[in-house]
């Protein structure tokens, strides 16, 4: 998830590009709208890995893994979304609206950023450095045991 021209808010899309570069066999979908996520969670893919920018009080460039199998916790004091609902809310809304149809295994890989939605194509240095680690994490989650 992310926005191309919104600086570090585009990290999710950068991870998608990295996965394509690695010829990943994962089914990759780019979305900007968490509401679209509600539909995707019910389309049969399992596990589902969501990669998105997150903001907390720490430094940028960390890769967080959030296991949402037993609920989607709030990651920060306020959602990092310009769409009124954030990915965590989208997950819970999907479960409330479509009980029994939502993927059983949902993970969020959050790459921490400091500032969202500034105009510009490029990621900041620490966030760019986290892209490869986030991609590796996604591959590891989806690899068969």
């Amino acid at each position: 998830m992310g926005q191309q021209w919104a600086g570090d808010d585009g990290v999710g899309l950068a991870v998608i590009r990295e996965l394509r570069r690695l010829n990943s066999q994962l089914d990759l979908v780019e979305i900007d709208d968490p509401a679209r996520l509600i539909e995707l969670l019910c389309e049969g893919a399992d596990p589902v890995v969501i990669v998105d920018a997150v903001m907390d009080d720490g430094p940028a460039g960390r890769v967080l893994l959030i296991d949402c199998r037993r609920g989607a916790p709030r990651l920060q004091s306020h959602p990092l979304s310009t769409h009124g609902i954030d990915p965590m809310q989208a997950i819970e809304l999907a479960r409330a609206a479509h009980p029994g149809r939502v993927a059983s295994r949902i993970f969020v890989i959050g790459v921490t950023i400091v500032e969202a939605s500034g105009p510009g194509h490029n990621l900041s240095a620490p966030v760019q450095a986290a892209v490869a680690r986030a991609a590796a994490r996604a591959i590891a989650i989806c690899s068969p045991l």
Binding site: W5, I38, G84, I85
Partner: protein, 428 residues
Amino acid sequence: MKTVKTDYLARVEGEGGVRIRFRGDQVRDVQVRIFEPPRLFEAFVRGRSYAEVPDITARICGICPVAYQMSSCAAIEDALGIRLAPEIGELRRLLYCGEWIESHALHVFMLHAPDFLGYPDAIAMAREHREIVLAGLAIKKAGNAIIRAIGGREIHPINPRVGGFHSLPPRSALVELIPELESAHQAAMQALQWLGRLNYPDYEGDYEFVAVDGGDRYPFIGTGLISNRGLNISARDYDAHFEESQVPHSNALHSRLRARGAYVCGPLARFNLHFDKLSEGVREAARRLNLTPPCYNPFKSIIVRGLEIAFALEEAIGLIRRYHDNGDAFIAPPSAASTSTGYGVSEAPRGMLYHRYRVDSAGLIRDAKIVPPTSQNLASIEHDLARVAPRMISLTHAEATRLAEQTVRNYDPCISCATHFLQLTIER
């Protein structure tokens, strides 16, 4: 002194907050605070080609990118003297219908409806009102489908350009949307009945409503602005009649009419100024809900959004049926002979969106001004909160916070857009 404070204003786009301070039973101060980092888009487009502006400004907002594209295209086309073919204007109107549908659906069913039923969010509401939430998601999906079919993708469409579109969508791709749009329309009309059963606070404001003048049609894109207090101007005269000012507590500028101060733009303004241009079916639905102009209760804006969803779906179906894909996708802009300034106004889902650009002879942007609807409504939002605040005296902190948030959400504020510029603080 009592102060009502909400640290974070939930269920609005972006980040914002409100602080209300009481002395005894008297409201001393109301501030709507925008603490999102100030956007730099007006400066960012300077020095860039006019051709890039629609794509850049679309990034200002993820929920109303079409509005930014349409206002920016209109302003640049005005500067370059481009007159669009009527068919292109109709295709832009259709694209805009898609945005109204998806944006209003998100706000009505996911963000605002929970307020009226006492739920903390749409998730809680979905557990007991599953069907209405599913209807809202289906309606939103229908709006997104229009945007994807014409714009190339749902978010930040890539097909609009100065002079028209990069390519015309095949008629077949639009016609195949009709069943989904008809189903969404049926859901929207049923949802109106549900909205009519909600409890609405008894409150009226003394507003000047401002909207785009769409001629003989309910406005999406136009060339002038009107109000219920006599304003009737060309978009070119915007700066002569409106001004923006910085307030200490917010990154977003506050807009006002030079002659009369605060005003309101958005669905309630459109409804009050252009009710007769809605379809007969939608007007009749409004009458059945005992909602006819003039309406000065901002809490009923959620019903108006529901009516506009139904109207936009009807309008979209009609536009698709009349659409043909055998024309030119765009008019090639002429080379600019000299520096020129252009003005564009359109009705974003949240209200009037004004763009002004100065384009030099090399086609580069020398100056830009972008006035989003949310910043235009900020003064009225603060006024509403000041009027509603006395009701908070007898409420718990949590109840007062919900009332304040509900009041702000009447305007479906997009804090991300209020840049060119929210955390509710109620201190007791």
